[in-house]
Subunit: 310 residues, 2 copies
DNA sequence: CTTGGCGATACCTCAAAAATATCGCCAAAC
DNA sequence: GTTTGGCGATATTTTTGAGGTATCGCCAAG
């Protein structure tokens, strides 16, 4: 049995007349008669009662038509759904990201993506840089935002693009003596109680600080340690000391604190976006477009990477 | 889009291999490749990813396949449902009947029909003989059991068959003086307080009784009147008098009463089954078969009527 | 009795589904 | 390195069957 039989039976039931139903279907009457006859032979039962007053479904016909209409709806929906999925309007995107990405690029990216693709299910997983690459390679994530490019086995199957430069800045209470300065120097920092992030979560930031303060970083030894930037800012605001962290911290709105550049400027690992080179999913594509629109630093690097992948 | 495309796509997804899917479908590989290509062109999106490791659905393919499977299920169900409806295994039967039919043929008929056709929805309507025929003609009933054949406008479009003869019998308490007799005579009845059914519900029975007792039926004038046979039997059991009613009363199980033939024997109108001559519904057909099996008096009369109708 | 409308039938045409043969590609084996 | 084998795509032919035209048979209305 073919979808044609369903369409013809439904049209015949709607018009109650072979000639008019055939006209509506864009065919002549004899083929319609034949197709209905074939259908009835296949079912093994008369589906329509032909009378002078018109053509009416039998009980078997009614049972058939109910199913036929639903089948046709499913077929139409199959075409629509597949098209929407192909255009990336529906589907799922599993995003792994380091917590600091939540400060700067993610809020804008996510809200914009959610507006542009309301029917895409976003699955967000905050995770350390080191866990993202294996998850991408294993197919457990579709896209990841990490600190620095992915490494480890299978990293060559990933495409990655820097989406945000970063460097160390200081944060302190507005009441702090240095708060009036445009920037603070390393020498000044050495004389301060410092607050830094925990090494395990963001080893790159800690390494950057060590580089900044010099090998003899006795100051770091006595620093307070916080697990995320919100805590660093909170401690700095309460006057415990001067906080050090990624420039991304500026995105946290908080009265009573001041952010300062640190001299000399000390770069931190880039925020990097990566995904499987073989993934051509349209949802991923749409997400990359959103990233490009929201991260000015991306530029044409992403297009280059997309063009050169397998 | 045709059902063929759905079947091919589902088979391809199941086997992950063009050649094997084609084999399973009973076609060669090239036609399958072409049909899938056509389908993808119609949808406007690639539905399957061809890799060295096998053929896998894309996101669009998954969306399509989910709908396709449901559509195919509906199509299969359409065939099954239509077949079942055509064989009268499902559907609806609206039966109008006089109350006295509930005494004798209906209990057996209904329980047997319910066992044989568990998925047919039975709609039972107790109604007076005079209301059944119009309801049949108007299409509000599928079949009716009446006292005597249908009359009135449109009755010629009905087929009717007697399914049970009937005559007047008496019922009395086992303590009654006549209870030991094999039968009671009209003369004996004239000397008794009588209990008869109400005229409006079963005028035919009352007419039969008047004929039995003679024109000068003063006895009837003073009779007690009950609206149904159960009341007649109940009153007779309590010794109020002798009840008169259709022989069908015997079917009511009740200790403490005795049923007697009345001499001379007085016929009552036949119980008649009728239905629309143009109704060829298989459910009706099945019901007629059950009637035939349960009512020995029907014999071949029903077959004759079925054969001769339009 | 005739006419007209409707569905079925007969027959033909042609599009397209499927079969056969072959190609191109890539990975694994030698 | 070359070869081989497996797989999907392509080219070409064959065949099926969907659809078109002409016509029939039937019945009800005029």
């Amino acid at each position: 049995m073919e979808a044609r039989h369903l369409r013809y039976a439904v049209a015949l039931a709607e018009h109650g007349h072979f000639g008019r139903a055939a006209g509506e279907l864009g065919i002549a009457q004899p083929p319609l008669s034949k197709q209905i006859a074939d259908l009835e032979r296949e079912i093994g039962a008369r589906l329509f009662e032909r009378t002078r007053q018109g053509v009416f479904p039998t009980a078997a016909g009614e049972a058939f038509l109910a199913r036929a209409r639903r089948a046709l709806e499913e077929i139409a929906a199959a075409e629509v759904d597949a098209g929407r999925a192909a255009r990336g309007e529906t589907g799922r995107l599993r995003l792994g990201f380091v917590a600091s990405a939540l400060l700067d690029p993610l809020p804008g990216v996510l809200s914009r993506f959610g507006r542009e693709r309301p029917d895409v299910r976003l699955e967000l997983h905050e995770m350390a840089t080191s866990r993202s690459s294996p998850a991408l390679i294993a197919g457990e994530l579709d896209v990841a935002i990490t600190l620095g490019p992915p490494r480890g086995a299978g990293a060559e199957h990933l495409v990655s693009v820097p989406i945000g430069r970063d460097h160390v800045i200081a944060v302190m209470s507005t009441a702090h003596p240095y708060a009036g300065q445009p920037s603070v120097s390393v020498d000044q920092l050495r004389r301060q109680p410092l607050i830094v992030s925990a090494g395990e979560d963001e080893p790159a930031v800690v390494a950057g600080l060590r580089g900044l303060l010099g090998r003899d970083s006795s100051a770091l030894g006595g620093a307070s340690v916080a697990r995320d930037v919100h805590t660093i800012i909170g401690l700095a605001a309460s006057g415990v000391g001067v906080g050090l962290g990624p420039s991304r911290m500026r995105a946290v709105p908080r009265p009573g604190v001041r952010f300062c550049e640190v001299t000399p400027g000390t770069p931190l690992p880039d925020l990097v976006l990566s995904f499987a080179a073989r993934d051509h999913s349209p949802v991923l594509r749409a997400f990359l477009d959103t990233i490009r629109g929201n991260c000015p630093e991306v530029g044409s690097a992403l297009d280059d990477r997309l063009r050169s992948r397998t």
